[in-house]
Symmetry: C2
Subunit: 200 residues, 2 copies
């Protein structure tokens, strides 16, 4: 039997993910990934195939471990608007404090970069957009069914608005917007979704 890998591919991928997330695909070199992981370039090429595939794998890891769980938590939260409120609270926290502060969202960053032209990247971005929108819609449908959604708002349209709002939060947080400012802004936006006289 052959030799076996001397490192954990997923741990290396996580390091690559962070570099791509923080600095973007264009300005992250294979050299930099090799330095960060402690691996030789040959091992990276043997494992992932090249920069394009490595970036895609990192993007998909980000979706799998960060975007999907957050959307699932939102979709599974049966409280209606409070679920939306907590989703944004967690988003702002993650974007403004801790290890990933001011990194923005890796997917939104990719939207704005040249890498968005790649069809496979675009597919990942579109899939994420749908997932987040559907999670918002589920939460808004719950709110509506309980009479806790403002009269003029449909869950479908409201969900699209909330996705754009989330994109805006991701953009602004990368430029250093404070958590307090973002919390306040999101609260104002969500206030428009609740009925004038909240039932609780």
């Amino acid at each position: 039997m052959p030799d076996i890998k001397h490192f954990d591919p997923d741990e290396a991928l996580e390091r690559a993910e962070r570099l791509f997330w923080r600095h973007g695909a264009a300005t992250t070199s294979i050299q930099a990934v090799a330095a960060e992981t402690g691996l030789n370039r040959s091992s990276l090429y043997a494992t992932f195939g090249g920069k394009r595939q490595l970036h895609l794998a990192a993007l998909r890891r980000y979706v799998r471990l960060r975007s999907v769980p957050a959307c699932a938590a939102l979709a599974d939260d049966t409280r209606g608007l409070p679920a939306v409120r907590d989703f944004f609270a967690g988003l702002i926290e993650a974007r403004c404090e801790g290890e990933y502060a001011r990194w923005g969202c890796m997917l939104v960053n990719a939207y704005a970069g040249e890498e968005g032209a790649d069809p496979e990247v675009r597919a990942v971005l579109d899939e994420h957009h749908r997932r987040l929108r559907d999670a918002f819609r589920t939460a808004l449908e719950t709110a509506r069914d309980r009479g806790r959604l403002a009269a003029g708002v449909t869950p479908a349209d409201g969900a699209e608005v909330l996705v754009l709002l989330a994109y805006g939060v991701n953009v602004r947080s990368r430029a250093g917007a404070g958590a307090g400012e973002l919390h306040r802004t999101v609260a104002a936006a969500l206030a428009g979704l609740a009925p004038e006289a909240p039932a609780d």
Copy 2:
């Protein structure tokens, strides 16, 4: 007397602006700008000083000729919410149709790229953010003074929400979102700003 420039610097800057806008700073080379303008690299360096300064100059040109006029039109429009509605209509049109379709906003693109780490770039972005927010606030104050703003909304908070919404539109349009979808979403968001029973 010396020789005189054999080209129009602002025309060259506009070509550079378009390249940076569409492809981003990291993936636009001086070579590419030279090819696009028909100029030699020496002329570019003699006129603009280097890639960093060229990119900054292009960014500032974008602000001066595109962002500032749009914000001024919004701030000078005394109709209140209809001014906001028309601002978004023009934005979506520019982002989805015509020459610059699917280029997004050069400033929002810069937010997401590595170039956002540059303090001078950040200053341009912050200035633009304030300008757009203040224009929105002016429009919302007008609406409020005429009783055409929903009860729970303050102009200051509403303006911040609208800026995030605009950022979201810019992000999504770059990924190919349709004008119809964006118009619909923006309309839903703006509906939340108007009083339940519109006065007109």
